[in-house]
């Protein structure tokens, strides 16, 4: 009973944070909303019985990504200027994308048969050796692909921020 209500609390955090991130006119509130949403997601991982993923979620998304966005915002003028009025065409496009994405994900979830697990993974499954082994054998391709994506993102960021030679 209590565990069930804790899950709903985390779901509420995710939804409230997401709404704050999407609908806030102030950039700072949007970032805070994103942080709340990601924290709720970490809580959901925890209640699903994977503390390692939850800790990684907090380490990377709250300690890393959110702080990095805050840092980038502080150095730009976006924090101090009044936000521009919403553009109807952009909003419509965004709503369209969101609806398509929602139905695609809902369709995928409905058509996937998730394996039923009797009990959450044991402490042994989260040992350093087991994690390292899984990352470098079974999930190696995913791991390396993600590194490539990050590398591309960094190169892209440098390309955008680079000063043009006059």
């Amino acid at each position: 009973m209590l565990e069930q209500s804790v899950v709903y609390l985390f779901v509420a955090l995710v939804l409230i944070g997401g709404c704050m991130a999407a609908f806030s006119r102030q950039v700072l509130y949007a970032i805070i909303g994103l942080g709340i949403s990601l924290l709720g997601l970490a809580g959901l991982f925890l209640s699903l019985g994977s503390p390692f993923v939850a800790a990684m979620q907090v380490l990377i998304y709250i300690g890393g990504i959110t702080v990095a966005i805050v840092f980038a915002m502080m150095l730009s003028i976006a924090m101090s200027v009044r936000p521009p009025d919403p553009d109807v065409r952009k909003s419509m496009f965004a709503i369209g994308c969101a609806v398509v994405f929602f139905f695609a994900v809902a369709y995928l979830i409905r058509d996937t048969s998730f394996p039923q697990v009797a009990s959450p993974a044991s402490e042994k499954a989260w040992s350093v050796g087991a994690l390292g082994h899984a990352l470098l054998t079974h999930y190696n391709l995913v791991f390396e692909t993600l590194s490539l994506v990050l590398l591309l993102a960094i190169i892209g960021a440098i390309l955008i921020a680079r000063k043009e030679k006059t």
């Binding site: 390692f52 800790a55 709250i62 702080v67 402490e123």
Partner: protein, 324 residues
């Protein structure tokens, strides 16, 4: 054999309440005593006498606490009320949440967690957000500048901090603090990882915003940095948080590098606290000996000296572990 607090109370909610009560009481008394120690030590280093009310000046802290608690809580007119009130709590709460992970003795512990190190590195990053919200919510240019400096400093020094912890995890092949302390029964890891300890102490001093890395609150430039607009016990909470972060960092260094509770003759807990307070005195000694770094020197030190050094240390550790 170890007994944790849930087994002791046989009721998880009672255990949780007891853990929080013990940690809050300890951190509060500890902060008051450390402020006294810092004032006495700084006075000795500068050839002064320091606080003198009561025996050895101990009453001074009691009076200061009374003053802080009874002061009016001012909120600046144009501050963002919600962020302004939440910020000090967000700076202090992570330390309280994480303190239960430390194994103080080999028989009784609060809680043993198999990925404790990841959890500590993850949750201790949240206090940066708190500091930033304090600076932003105050609506004061000095506070905001202090917050900007603090965020830049914290994300830079978190990298060498994490890189200096990894060799220990590689040697012990575990992320549980209890097992890491247990693995040092023969010798403390400072003997095999001296460079990692030095990097850890420097990075931890920077993470706790203490001199010579105290530019987020540099009083000669920024009044008081991110807590300029805070008064009364809200300011007191920032003060508590600083000293709690100090003891937290020193306890982590003790478990990772100095062998935790291991030591001859004296009981476990006594050895643990001797090591922790020795490190704290060392950090206080830094503060009153070194001048404050300039901002560019600070960033350069992190990225040009500490990060490459910790990477080289990691590489050598890997090679040695592979060959032996």
């Amino acid at each position: 054999m170890k007994t944790d607090i849930v087994q002791l109370f046989d009721n998880p909610y009672l255990a949780l309440g007891a853990t929080i009560a013990v940690i809050m009481a300890y951190l509060s008394v500890n902060a008051i005593m450390l402020i006294w120690l810092e004032r006495k030590l700084s006075a000795r280093i500068q050839r002064r006498i320091g606080p003198q009310r009561g025996p050895w000046g101990l009453m001074q802290q009691i009076f200061d606490m009374g003053k802080l608690l009874s002061k009016e809580l001012l909120t600046p007119a144009h501050a963002n009320k919600l962020l302004y009130v939440i910020a000090p709590i967000m700076v202090f709460a992570p330390v309280v949440a994480l303190s239960s992970l430390f194994p103080i003795t080999r028989t009784y512990i609060f809680h043993d967690f198999n990925i404790a190190i990841v959890l500590i590195l993850a949750i201790s990053g949240i206090n940066v957000v708190g500091i930033f919200l304090a600076g932003w919510g105050s609506n004061n240019k000095y506070a905001l500048l202090g917050a900007v400096r603090s965020v830049a400093q914290n994300i830079s020094y978190e990298i060498p901090l994490i890189l200096s912890v990894i060799p220990i995890v590689m040697i012990t092949r575990t992320m549980s603090l209890y097992d890491i302390a247990l693995a040092q029964s023969a010798y403390p890891f400072v003997l095999v990882q001296p460079i990692a300890l030095i990097i850890f102490i420097i990075a931890a001093t920077a993470e706790t915003n203490r001199a010579p890395f105290d530019i987020p609150e540099a009083e000669s430039e920024l009044v008081a940095g991110f807590h300029t607009e805070y008064s009364g016990m809200r300011f007191g909470l920032f003060f508590f948080a600083e000293y709690s972060h100090m003891i937290f960092a020193c306890a982590l260094a003790t478990v990772l590098f100095l062998g935790g509770w291991h030591g001859p003759i004296l009981p476990d807990a006594v050895w643990f606290f001797i090591k922790v307070y020795a490190l704290i005195v060392l950090m206080m000694w830094f503060r009153w000996t070194f001048p404050r770094l300039r901002f560019d020197q600070l960033m350069k030190f992190a990225w040009v000296v500490l990060v490459p050094l910790s990477l080289i240390n990691l590489l050598i550790t890997t090679l040695v572990l592979k060959l032996v």
